[in-house]
Symmetry: D2
């Protein structure tokens, strides 16, 4: 089956590679020539930096998978829609907010163009490990895409079968799932990332507690002004090997996970983590997950705490902290000055 | 009535001043001569830097109020107990953890010495405003202390009477309360401070949101790598006058409070808060409040978040944040470096 | 000066009463006749249930203060705008989200009608205590409204002057403040309410810790399956009088506040709080404050925890909790059943 | 090599089975005869309900692994110590708080008895999957135990080798790790469980957001009094299949983990989770992890939120919620009654 790919960044290019490995064909487009040429060299049937030419090379019904930054996705989808015909399918495989999927599907419907949103997880490992695909849209176009989705997804063999499941496998067991109408794919991917934030923070906080388990040995010296003295220093005299601890948890423990695998590898490679500055970015999904929780009126304390810890890591609480110091000075008389 | 005061720091000295204003007498002790001389000049009947002499000047039953740093309180109480007699009263008016009160009362009981713990709130304003007193211990010695407690407390006239209360005033309406047996005073004071942390953080976070309400006007430039772009910059184009806002809330609003009064004054005096470094200390009470909540199995999300925000302000999440960056690099490929 | 009031619920009616006390005149409108008649009886110069008639009675430039539920505010403002003329002023004094203010001001601008948003705090006490007013809009119409705003606000005498302030009082000291352009009033009021959530939760959590300080005396019996046994039961044997504790904090303590005054009164009136079900509502402002924090990328852990505790109080975590139990059963073998 | 096992509950018995599979021998003890007989039938060399007899059958240096409830562990260890000789080894493989390990090791040292604490993760799956072992104690006895530990642990083949690791495997790669001196094993296990709480809650919260993604379709009817109306109901009209979503995430996604495997299995077996009551227990480790974070002064917002959500699930916020309702009534006039 043929796939048209718009955007040959790492994820777009690797999805193309993965389907070609399975015998599918690909027409590829990018604004830059280099990645286009590279994919053609690797076997894509046609490549171009001209969007109209790209569309003209697609077999009908056309399948155009858009894999570009969220900021320009809308514009490119509009351009594609101008060039496409009823029955064609546009896929947004990027990180759009699902609200936009709902609007785009509505806007494309009168033209007879199908819109499918696919939340794609897998990161830099997707080429080999496969991509987990969360899909929103109408049933027919999603079914039409099935052969491609099956090739992109990891495949049932990449995990042990869930106990209790018997008979034919569901697509979820292959690693792709039609979650619901327009936006459902990005909605589920959004919550997936929200969970990812929470799980990451759970490990990070726990490792920090291990890391500082030697506080009973430290000279409390200067810190005495800022912290209450430790009541039981004899409880905090461990010099723990955090990299080895993450390794030991990989086997047999309740917290074994792919994130832990990655953490163990990162800590093995650089035990001190000294190359990192400690300022942690956040993309939209973590924020949008919290927005959704609030709209739904459900508590999401863990996911939100994980998000805020990233804001904090970037110094965004500074003004609030100065307000606290100002209050403390006002009623307690102590002035918490900047460090000399 | 006579009060013996051990420790003439700001709070100890001001408590002595407050009771002398009301016609009580004071015997005072400190390790340093200067504050002793100062208080004697102001009318204390006797002052000394010798603890045994201090005890010898007290009328029986002796009343010794210990107002010194928590770290040395235990030792001084032991010394006092050696010098005192059955029926005497030792008051710990400092910031001991209430566990210690329970132990000390038990240790002093066989000697017939009464132990009273008094959590004291009021800060630098206590001399004029009075001190709010939360008291633990046996009924008899607490009743014996009543004339002194009444003088130290703010007095019923310092707030409007609570609607519904009629007839004779309770001591709570004067600003002092016998809360229960040994430790109850410091327990209630501990939770008081826990609430204080939470309320302070509520203001600080809210003012931070006001402070950054101009983000839609800022050049997103560099931050684009760290944050998702603002979806609706037109919603964040306010240049708000935070000092004036804290002032306007002082009258008629639901968040009017003494803490807000202090905040408004601090922001009026230094609108930019530039003299503060943003590292916020924590004393023991906020931590102990959370420990108590966990022991009791009751959720204390707000009080704990307030405590953690202080830890965060001192950079204590740094290692955790590096772990997050290491994970993000592992699955996403982006390396969050230290700032150049 | 004349004020037109649209909506005679408690707050609308009391604002009218407050300005009339100061010698201003009022034209009033409501969909129901009873409150209209009541206000006319109390001295309003004209009352009607017909919006066109209401507008016709206003002196130019007309001032129409809309004080109705947020859900219908937009529609009524549209109707008013049809009936009004360039130079007139429409005030939204309700609880609109500030996004709507920005849109409405933009929509009314071409007609020359001024739009002013006023966040109003004060609740059931506003008539006597005055209303704290947070105002957004253009400078000229806000200045025009000054005499009315001054009458509605509490007045400078209702709190001690902030130390350091000298000379002429600012309007903030009267209890009203022009915060910025359209939406600024409701933005500041929104954050005000967010702070209110946080401060309320701080007290509530602290009182809960006091309330359960007797856990060491309770028969742990049944709870043993759900909780780890208490390590030090002797630390939790206090039977604390929570109503009296809230009373004692009202004088001299750092947590004295109007909210505490109300809490002390409520606990005095009903010490057990048995008439309350424990399900706590939330209006929009707490949610919108968190949305704003997230958009701005600033941490608001306390305000968010306060919001989530309300969601939790309504059972909204039930499904999440069942998921936790399902996990626990899977790896630990224990089935957490519904209560018999 | 010979292992003595004290306590034949599920974990004790399965550890015995696992070492016997590997050719080691076992002497077993339990207060109940049935499990003793069962293990002897399965090949244990000796079994008894008499502790002295148990000790007498052990080869020197004796190895006694205590695997009994934390509440009685201390007493049994004391009894064992009376019966044992210098050079013998007592292992606490249960869930003791690490403080106790520190004390016990100190108490046993003068007798020449070695104390080793082993945090054991694996739950009901340990027999087949192996147990992850986190070990505290002196180097020599831990090295002496190596053959047994290797048999109990999962083994290096149960996970792919961490990229970058070459040459000989470390014991961490086998699934067991000597973490440090007395208490280090239980300390690391404690934090492990703290992380487990956080990760579990991350999934649970996320699935709850998915579960309620249909709120835009629900009749808001009754809830209108408690919640602000949904601004964009069209964003919440998804009827998501949560069991299938957990399945799809098992392959290729960033949140793949053993906990997710278990969740997918549980949701497949009972999609509605109706057999669960929603009250979630907590054992000590989650609490102790937070205590440690607070002692160390490091923020642990996610781990703490996870703990509090369990307290909340058991109704422990009820009093706090009533306080909130009482405040709301006081300033807003609305009485939040119990449900009829």
């Amino acid at each position: 089956m043929q796939l048209g790919m718009v955007g040959l960044g790492r994820m777009g290019a690797n999805i193309v590679r993965r389907i070609m490995r399975d015998g599918h064909t690909a027409v590829v487009y990018d604004v830059n020539e280099a990645p286009v040429r590279e994919l053609v060299d690797e076997g894509a049937e046609f490549g171009t930096t001209d969007l109209a030419e790209f569309v003209s090379k697609l077999e009908t019904p056309r399948v155009a998978w858009v894999m570009i930054p969220a900021g320009i996705t809308g514009k490119v989808i509009d351009q594609l829609a101008e060039l496409m015909a009823p029955g064609d399918i546009i896929i947004d495989g990027g990180n759009s907010r699902y609200h936009q999927d709902i609007e785009r599907a509505k806007a494309l419907a009168p033209k007879g163009i199908h819109y499918v949103d696919i939340g794609t997880s897998g990161g830099v490992f997707g080429l080999d490990r496969g991509y987990c695909l969360m899909i929103g849209g109408e049933r027919e176009p999603v079914e039409h895409l099935d052969p491609l989705l099956k090739s992109i997804a990891p495949g049932v063999g990449t995990a042990e079968r869930t106990p209790g499941r018997t008979g034919e496998t569901s697509t979820a067991e292959e690693g792709y799932l039609h979650c619901g109408p327009a936006g459902a794919g990005h909605f589920v991917k959004m919550v997936h990332n929200g969970i990812e934030y929470g799980a990451m923070a759970a490990y990070a906080e726990g490792l920090n507690i291990l890391h500082k388990a030697d506080i009973g040995n430290r000279d409390s010296g200067d810190s005495s002004a800022e912290e209450t003295p430790l009541e039981n220093p004899e409880w905090y005299r461990y010099d723990l090997d955090v990299p080895e601890i993450t390794e030991v948890w990989r086997r047999g423990s309740v917290v074994a996970s792919w994130l832990l695998d990655l953490t163990a590898a990162a800590l093995y490679a650089e035990p001190t983590l000294e190359s990192f500055g400690g300022r942690v970015s956040d993309s939209g999904e973590g924020r949008w997950t919290v927005d959704a929780a609030i709209d739904e009126g459900v508590p999401a304390a863990v996911l939100t705490a994980a998000l805020y810890s990233r804001f904090d890591s970037r110094g965004e609480a500074l003004y609030a902290n100065k307000v606290l110091s100002a209050m403390r000075k006002a009623f307690g008389g102590h002035h918490e000055l900047p460090k000399a």
